[in-house]
């Protein structure tokens, strides 16, 4: 019986811990994360991620939708994880979009320089 009692008590302690852990993920925390993720997705969209990083942006937008659905269905942990992932996905999509656009600008400038140099050289040789 002593053995049983020892076994029984730790399980209750563990269950208590789990309850604490579950309640740590409060509604306000989740709502805050959902809002942050929404903002991250919006900013990625404003940065042109839909065109420049469609795969990453699609994943982010999808996860945000699923996070909101999970939150509505009271799956707080799932909602939290999905929302956090949506945020990092959106951040990556935004960063990719921005670096792509800058790379395009760099390539265009380089090309303009080349064209201009050639034009000047032609003009000089015509003199």
């Amino acid at each position: 019986m002593i053995h049983v009692r020892l076994f029984y008590r730790p399980s209750r302690v563990l269950a208590g811990c789990c309850l604490l852990a579950l309640s740590a993920c409060s509604s306000s925390e989740l709502n805050h994360q959902l809002a942050t993720s929404r903002e991250a997705v919006d900013q990625a969209q404003m940065a042109g991620a839909e065109e420049n990083a469609p795969a990453d942006f699609g994943v982010a937008a999808d996860k945000l939708t699923r996070a909101n659905a999970a939150a509505t269905g009271h799956h707080k942990h799932d909602a939290m994880r999905l929302a956090q992932q949506a945020q990092v996905d959106a951040n990556l999509a935004r960063a990719k979009s921005e670096s792509t656009q800058t790379r395009i600008a760099a390539a265009e400038l380089t090309k303009t320089n080349q064209t201009l140099r050639e034009a000047i050289n032609r003009a000089n040789s015509n003199e």
Partner: protein
């Protein structure tokens, strides 16, 4: 017995909720967790090894490292595969984002260098442009002088200058010119006004014969009003019997149609004095 069963069930349920501390996880979970942590670890290591990332995306890299650490802890302490995968995923995406920040920075650097180069090229082009037009008045000064007294026929000495001018205008198709006619002070101002216009006209005809569109050429007569030399000497008067080529851009060319209209008039002598430029 019932007690044992209940307590055992309680422990298992608790274990599942807390994702088990006491039980050792199945081999497949161990492999999955290890793969997730390894992948994230590689991404973070790769980013950390890039000096550009370390320099330009330190906080994102820090967040990636922290997530990786949490993923390891989630596995080592709790054997929580879901949390481990989740945190490893966060680490991996954050490492990729840090890498992308560094890429952006490198591209910005390229833009900066290319923009500076463009600026330089533009300023070279801007200084190169006026150098050509400035050659035109020089040429005019040298070549288009020495009309015979009372005559508007181009002096033979002007032919090389006219040829050169035509070549310059051909290679600068956008450029328009004003040809100014001048005389010495021999004769009445009214007579000289008409004569100067005829001299300008002679230059235009010569240019048109060399293939320059007459719409690019405007004429203006100054008569004897603007001598280049002193009319007291014979050489001075010869230098005053001349035509000058003025390159016109924008503002100056606005008046060119008026000038052309003046030219087409039958009697230039009847025209009022040309307005100040």
């Amino acid at each position: 017995m019932n007690n044992i069963l209940r307590s055992a069930t309680g422990a298992v349920v608790a274990g599942i909720i807390a994702t088990g501390c006491a039980t050792s996880p199945p081999a497949s979970e161990v492999a999955a967790a290890r793969a997730a942590i390894d992948n994230a670890g590689q991404a973070v290591d790769h980013a950390s090894a890039d000096p550009q990332v370390v320099k330009y995306a330190p906080s994102e890299l820090e967040r990636a490292t922290a997530s990786l650490q949490k993923a390891k802890t989630a596995w080592n302490d709790k054997h929580d595969l879901t949390a481990t995968r989740h945190l490893a995923y966060l680490a991996q995406q954050r490492a990729a984002t840090a890498q992308e920040f560094a890429n952006e920075r490198a591209a910005q650097e390229t833009v900066k260098v290319a923009a500076a180069e463009l600026n330089q090229t533009m300023s070279v082009a801007a200084t190169a442009r006026p150098s050509k037009p400035s050659a035109i008045p020089d040429l005019a000064q040298k070549g288009l002088i020495g009309f015979s007294t009372g005559a508007s026929q181009l002096p033979a000495s002007a032919v090389p200058a006219i040829n050169e001018l035509a070549t310059i205008l051909k290679s600068n198709p956008g450029r328009e010119v004003v040809i100014e006619g001048h005389t010495d002070n021999v004769g009445t101002p009214r007579y000289n006004q008409a004569l100067a216009m005829k001299r300008a006209e002679a230059v235009r005809v010569a240019l048109v014969r060399r293939g320059i569109d007459s719409s690019r050429i405007a004429l203006r007569s100054y008569g004897e009003e603007k001598p280049a030399s002193n009319n007291a000497s014979r050489i001075g008067r010869k230098e005053n019997r001349r035509a000058e080529i003025i390159t016109a851009d924008g503002a100056q060319m606005v008046g060119s149609s008026q000038i052309s209209a003046t030219v087409s008039s039958d009697d230039p002598g009847e025209q009022p004095r040309q307005p100040e430029r």
